[in-house]
């Protein structure tokens, strides 16, 4: 009998049917070794597109490095724009993976098992994109290491009152931990891939990366400890990284940035866009590879609920921000909150942000939307757009209308700006597509474990 959920309806199962070990392994390794011809063709087409977009990304990066930041639309007063927006957006997206993997692991949410690998990979690739932007964004990117506390002969250290060295450290830490966490979880499956590889070369390659995993008790024991420890390490990072990113803004005295609400506000926003991204990726992958039995409506439902919760929190943050601006009575704050954002030159972005981030998630109250792929995907994409726009509103509208009216300005992105945004999406897509066909994107070992530890409740359990 199905367990009842809080609202009294039976929850969908996290794994449908009772596949055997071999069956499960074969099914989950098939995208790597024997994809159907339709899947393979579609994959190649998408990879082609992604390579093209990545090429555009390369050209835009080349333009930035050779011409300087002048190739972008940035100006004084809007000295930060697309690159920072993209950075915050990507790093935000990168939060959901770790949240799903580490947070939910610690909370023993077993439904995470089917999707955590995908979410972690997404995190990793998103953080790669995010990590590129702060470096590209420097006027002299070849001196990016000045932000790193290394023992320089000049005796000069980074300036620790600024948020930026912390930011650099946080991103780097996050990238490292995310990678380790992902890779550690991948080890047993790499071994499975090694064991099933159809060719000698692949066997060798998977063998090298499997680091000699043989599934012994000792290996499992240590793996479990290490995985738990890394989860414990990664969990605070989910909170800290985006808090630090938010300080890039909050420590400034700029109206629209100078706000103590920013750290939690940013973390919530990050998770919000991250969950939306997981949904965006999961729905088509599930469909394409026929994984409806592994990634069930139960997963979509859970993700959608989390997204909705984050949407409500972000709405609360917006309300708080407006209330604070009004309540302080500060002329400049009020101008940004009540004049320049809703009525100024970028009002379109502001209202789009509200529509996407505040209104769209309410569709998720409907069970039909939560459990069906396409509508859910639609909402998720809207939220992605909304969250990018939110960062744009924060960064650009605040800068363009600061204290002295004489220095007010505007901002218009150039082709390089658009190419960097589009190109980074393409590059992310490329990495993700490669990931789909190179490593098992559903954790095989964890699913088997799930099946074994909950033999009775597989049809519908939580």
């Amino acid at each position: 009998m199905a367990e009842a959920t809080a609202i009294g309806r039976p929850a969908a199962p996290v794994l449908e049917g009772r596949p055997g070990d071999a069956e499960l392994t074969d099914a989950l390794l098939s995208p790597i070794f024997q994809p159907g011809p339709r899947v393979a063709r579609g994959w190649l087409l998408l990879v082609g597109l992604a390579v093209l977009a990545t090429g555009v990304f390369g050209v835009a990066i080349g333009a930035t490095l050779t011409l300087g930041i002048g190739a972008w639309g940035n100006d004084i007063p809007v000295a930060w724009a697309f690159a920072i927006v993209n950075f915050v957006w990507w790093i935000g997206i990168g939060h959901a993976g770790t949240f799903i993997s580490a947070f939910l692991l610690l909370l023993q949410q077993s439904w995470r098992s089917s999707i955590n690998r995908l979410a972690e990979a997404m995190t990793l690739f998103a953080v790669v994109q995010a990590g590129l932007f702060p470096i590209l964004h420097l006027g002299r990117p070849w001196f990016f290491y000045y932000l790193v506390p290394y023992p320089a002969t000049t005796g000069v250290w980074p300036q620790f009152r600024s948020a930026l060295p912390w930011d650099a450290a946080a991103i780097f830490t996050y990238l490292t931990v995310s990678f380790l966490f992902w890779y550690l979880g991948l080890l047993p499956d790499l071994a499975s891939a090694r064991d099933r590889a159809p060719t000698r070369l692949r066997q060798r390659l998977y063998g090298v990366f499997a680091l000699g995993w043989n599934g012994s008790m000792r290996h499992w024991h240590r793996h479990r400890i290490a995985y738990g420890l890394l989860a414990g390490l990664a969990t605070p990072l989910v909170i800290s990284v985006h808090s630090i990113v938010s300080l890039d803004f909050a420590i400034a005295s700029l109206p629209g940035w100078h706000s103590t609400i920013f750290p939690p506000y940013f973390v919530v926003g990050a998770l919000y866009s991250g969950f939306a991204m997981v949904i965006t990726l999961l729905v088509p992958v599930r469909r394409a590879f026929g994984l409806e039995r592994v990634v069930t409506a139960r997963h979509l439902d859970a993700l959608a609920k989390l997204t909705l919760a984050m949407g409500l929190l972000i709405t609360y943050a917006y309300v708080c921000e407006l209330f604070t601006a009004w309540y302080t009575g500060d002329l400049y704050e009020r101008y940004v909150a009540f004049v320049s954002r809703p009525l100024g030159g970028f009002a379109g972005a502001y209202w789009l942000m509200l529509a996407c981030n505040v209104l769209a998630p309410h569709l998720l109250w409907l069970r039909r939307v939560r459990t069906r792929g396409l509508p859910l995907l639609g909402v998720a994409v809207l939220i992605q757009v909304g969250m990018w726009t939110e960062r744009f509103v924060i960064v650009v509208t605040s800068l363009s209308r600061d204290f002295l009216p004489s220095s007010w300005g505007s901002y218009a992105p150039t082709w390089v700006d658009w190419s960097l945004l589009g190109g980074s999406i393409g590059f992310f897509g490329l990495l993700f597509l490669l990931f789909l066909r190179v490593v098992p994107f559903v954790p095989i070992a964890e699913l088997k474990e799930l099946r074994e530890t909950r033999p009775e409740g597989l049809e519908a359990t939580a």
Partner: protein
């Protein structure tokens, strides 16, 4: 095959041969090109210390009058212009043109060789051609601009003497006011007026940009400012009424702005004169004669009160009309000043100074007629550009083609030079010998600071070549002319060169009596001659404050200098009042068609609050130029519409349908303060209640340093927004020029900008110009956000920028509430032409791409002064360090010094009741403070007039 193997098997002998040969070549073959003049001094010349600048006094001429300057030369390169404190037109200040003239020296587009029919020619061939015609000068015509230079006057006199049939013509697109001819009529003798603002306490500037377009503007501004520095309500303060169509720095500085069309100005003055005369009890027939003219006066409600105010300042009142006004306006202004007892005090008359000023009928039309009739064999055009600037109806270009030998002396191959057979490059003033006279007659010398970068000659040299067989050098000519004046002592000449001015050379000021009846008769005749047509808009033509009539179009500093009023760069636009714009359905950037006498231009509109309605101001100096890159040809050439003579005309203005609006490259988007008290103003009476400002308590203690502690104050009361400081800063600190496209992107680089705010109604707003530069905050918001310590605080209170540490995160700019930081978005410095780099200040680092930069309080000047003081083992004196902006400011609006010294000038200004810090509520504790704009409106008249 054999060869191949032999070569591979290198024998010991062959190896040694090769090594020897290589060693020998290494020692011999690497000579550079033969050393030419780069021989180090065996004995250093006493005046030259490497790394230490040498100042030389010289002067620049504009609109015929000279302004004395002191130019600093470093290792043989002139690198900075300052005013000459001994020169009456400068008083130590330099305006935008003086500051920027330096860049023209290093202009890569200058003509570099004498050409004949476009081919390089020899100077002897030119000399031969110049003397080839009839010995009495038949068929020889000379065209030049108005000039007060005694040397040029002497050459012209010699030309007349030796070539009696030669004819001399004068031309300028916007000619000087017709005051000398007017004086002949109403004073009975040819004289020219010289206002003295230092003695005026109540001034009416009638369409007169005293602090901008008029000669002696720097001096006028300084004299005016001297009467405006108040600290208490009881301090005396002058009052300025500014009348006229166009908002100018003078109108911005005024206590009352009275916008009216240019045509209405004489009516206002007539009404004012009538009111004053009536109150003075003058005979009824005088006032009755004026009454019909006065009836059409604008601002009629204010006239009685202004007349009363003027009468209350008997002997200290001055009414002055501008160069764009007809003779009658000048006559009325003189009459008013006379009735108010100002003649000999606020207004004097001097002997005419411009060469041949008494014989002005040898005009351009006369020349064109002569050319068209084939009577001109040789035409010599000296540094004027009639091919571009003459009214098109004259068909100047067609006429020139009928001249056998035409010679143009011009710095560039401009339209006139391209038209003439010969083009002789003219030398820059910093390469020339010469002289000039200021408006008060003081003679100043022009001496070269550098050998001519390229070949060329001066006006005097070319004029001399018309007469003499072996042309003397510029110095010899000057020396001869000097001797002819009866001052032949070499010591006196040397002393004058050193000082830049000739002592006691000011023009005599004979007593003058205005014939009031003549003025009134004139006014009556002028009123009768007026035939305004319905539907026409008045067109007012003015020289651009930066490019003048286009002669500075090659100068990138001036191209990029924001207009003092509109903040427009690299182009011009038609200035409209808000109501006129509404009537036309025009907004900023709307294309307008302006037509007059069958010719029309299309020009974008710009709405300027405070501009007179029914009037459109068009600025000369813009439009494509044949000799300049397209970037320097922005804007629209309005010369097709310029009338001959008076720069006032009637025209039709319509909107161009279907043409997408033009994006105006302005550096300031909003001139409203949005209720933020950024540029503050107050009335004189309110100073009583005010107490000296106290900085906010800071949560963190501001950093403690050692004396001196640098600080600056800017007095907004006397700042006219003239922008000389902007160019001075650019010259001193190697601030790059970015071009129109980058301006449109909001990437101007000026370390010092001038914000202009307009408050009150659009018809006559109160404006404040606020120089905005790094505020050198004690608790600088930029410093704590920099991740790499690239911007840090110095012990003496400066906010330093460490360029080679900067990685370019731009966080500092985001966190700067004043947005005074500038970022090198591109490699701007690489765009500077090779020759222009010679201008760079060797004491200032050239900034790379990707680096933030900003005002340093001219730290290089501070350090230089400190080194000097330490060498002399004495403390640094107050006022010893002067920043570039401070030094050039005509009104001395900027005070700089140490606040560690309570007695320093800057400490005292900071204690003034109107002192405040911009955005002080943010707790940044800026070291740059402002003295609020104090106004002195006439009680009851209303600030808006």
């Amino acid at each position: 095959m054999e060869d191949e193997s032999e070569r591979r098997a290198l024998s010991r002998r062959a190896f040694l041969q090769l090594v020897t040969a290589a060693a020998a070549t290494a020692g011999t073959a690497c000579f550079r090109s033969p050393l030419d003049t780069l021989v180090p001094y065996v004995e250093r010349p006493p005046e030259l210390t490497p790394g230490v600048g040498t100042p030389y006094a010289t002067s620049f001429e504009l609109d015929g009058y000279a302004t004395g300057v002191v130019v600093e030369c470093r290792e043989g390169r002139p690198i900075k212009v300052e005013g000459n404190p001994l020169h009456p037109a400068s008083g130590g200040a330099a305006g935008v043109h003086e500051q920027a003239a330096l860049l023209d020296l290093y202009d890569p587009t200058r003509a570099r060789a004498l050409t004949r029919d476009g081919e390089v020619a020899s100077w002897s061939a030119l000399s031969a051609a110049l003397r080839s015609g009839a010995a009495d000068g038949t068929g020889l015509h000379v065209l030049l601009g108005p000039t007060a230079s005694p040397l040029v006057a002497a050459q012209l006199a010699r030309l007349r003497e030796r070539r009696p049939r030669a004819r001399i013509h004068f031309f300028e697109a916007l000619p000087p006011a017709p005051t000398v001819a007017l004086a002949s009529e109403i004073l009975g003798r040819p004289l020219q007026p010289l206002p003295d603002l230092g003695r005026a306490r109540c001034i009416v500037a009638a369409d007169c940009d005293l602090f901008g377009a008029e000669p002696f503007a720097l001096r006028h501004a300084a004299d005016f400012a001297a009467g405006r520095r108040v600290r208490r309500p009881s301090d005396p303060m002058s009052r300025l009424y500014a009348l006229g169509p166009t908002p100018t720095p003078t109108a911005d500085a005024a206590d009352h702005r009275l916008p009216c069309t240019g045509r209405a100005v004489p009516h206002f003055l007539a009404a004012l004169l009538e009111a004053v005369l009536r109150a003075e009890g003058a005979p009824g027939e005088l006032t009755q004669a004026l009454a019909p003219i006065a009836a059409a006066a604008p601002h009629a409600g204010t006239i009685e009160r202004i007349a009363g105010d003027l009468r209350a300042h008997r002997g200290e009142a001055l009414v002055v009309a501008g160069r764009g006004q007809p003779a009658v306006a000048h006559a009325l202004a003189w009459a008013l000043t006379d009735v108010l007892g100002g003649i000999g005090k606020t207004l004097s008359f001097t002997e005419p100074l411009l060469a041949d000023a008494t014989n002005r009928d040898e005009t351009l039309p006369a020349l064109v007629d002569a050319m068209a009739s084939g009577a001109v064999e040789r035409l010599v055009i000296l540094e004027v550009d009639p091919a571009r600037l003459a009214p098109p109806a004259l068909r100047f270009a067609d006429a020139v083609r009928r001249v056998r030998d035409s010679v143009a002396l011009a710095p560039h191959r401009n339209e006139t030079a391209a038209l003439c057979r010969w083009h002789a490059p003219s030398l820059h003033a910093l390469e020339s010998w010469g002289d000039g006279r200021a408006l008060d007659g003081t003679v100043s010398l022009v001496q070269p600071l550098v050998r001519p970068l390229w070949e060329g000659c001066t006006r005097a040299e070319l004029l001399a070549a018309l007469v003499d067989d072996d042309a003397a050098s510029g110095r010899a000519l000057l020396r001869t002319a000097w001797a002819a004046e009866g001052r032949d002592a070499e010591e006196a000449f040397t002393a004058a060169l050193a000082r830049g001015v000739v002592e006691a050379s000011a023009a005599r000021r004979p007593a003058a009596r205005i014939r009031l009846d003549a003025v009134i008769r004139m006014a009556g005749e002028a009123a009768a001659a007026e035939t305004p047509r319905d539907g026409d808009v008045e067109l007012v033509f003015r020289p651009d404050p930066a490019l003048h009539d286009g002669r500075f179009a090659a100068n990138a500093w001036l191209q990029e200098l924001p207009d003092p009023v509109t903040k427009l760069t690299w182009e011009n636009a038609a200035w409209l009042g808000p109501e006129t714009a509404r009537g036309l359905g025009a907004s900023d950037g709307t294309w307008l068609r302006v037509a007059r006498e069958g010719r029309s231009i299309e020009i974008p509109a710009i709405i300027v609050p405070g501009h007179a309605e029914g009037s459109v101001t068009l600025l000369l100096g813009f439009g494509p130029r044949s000799h300049l890159p397209a970037s320097h040809g922005g804007g629209v050439d309005v010369t097709p519409l310029v009338p001959a003579g008076l720069p006032l005309a009637s025209g039709l203005v319509t909107r161009v349908e279907g043409r997408p609006p033009h994006r105006l490259a302005r550096t300031q988007q909003s001139q409203r303060q949005h209720d933020r008290s950024v540029a503050r103003e107050r009335t004189r009476e309110s100073l009583e209640a005010a107490e000296a400002p106290r900085p906010l308590d800071a949560f963190y203690a501001p950093p403690q340093g050692d004396p001196p502690q640098w600080a600056m104050t800017v007095d907004l009361t006397v700042c006219t927004g003239c922008s000389a400081c902007v160019v001075a800063c650019q010259a001193e600190n190697d601030v790059p020029v970015v071009g129109r496209d980058e301006i449109l992107r909001g990437r101007e680089m000026h370390w010092l900008r001038i914000d202009r705010y307009a408050e009150g109604g659009d018809a006559a707003p109160r404006t404040v110009s606020q120089p905005m530069l790094c505020q050198q905050c004690e608790l600088a918001p930029c410093e704590y956000v920099c991740p790499v310590e690239a911007t840090v605080h110095s012990r003496d209170g400066l906010n330093d920028m460490v360029y080679n540490r900067c990685v370019g995160t731009r966080f500092c700019s985001n966190n700067c509430p004043y947005k005074v930081r500038r970022f090198n978005w591109r490699d701007y410095q690489a765009d500077v032409p090779e020759v222009t780099r010679l201008q760079r200040n060797p004491d200032v680092t050239v900034r790379a791409r990707g680096v933030m930069e900003k005002c340093t309080y001219c730290v290089q000047r501070i350090r230089r002064a400190q080194i000097r003081a330490r060498r002399d083992a004495r403390p640094l004196e107050d006022g010893e360090v002067r920043t570039a902006c401070q030094q050039t400011c005509p009104t001395r609006a900027i005070t700089f010094g140490s606040i560690a010294d309570a007695q320093s000038a800057v400490s005292r200004t900071r204690a003034a009741p109107q002192a405040y810090a911009v955005l002080e509520e943010l707790g940044t504790r800026p070291r740059t403070m402002y003295l609020a704009r104090v106004r002195n409106p006439l009680p009851g008249l209303g600030v808006d007039g």
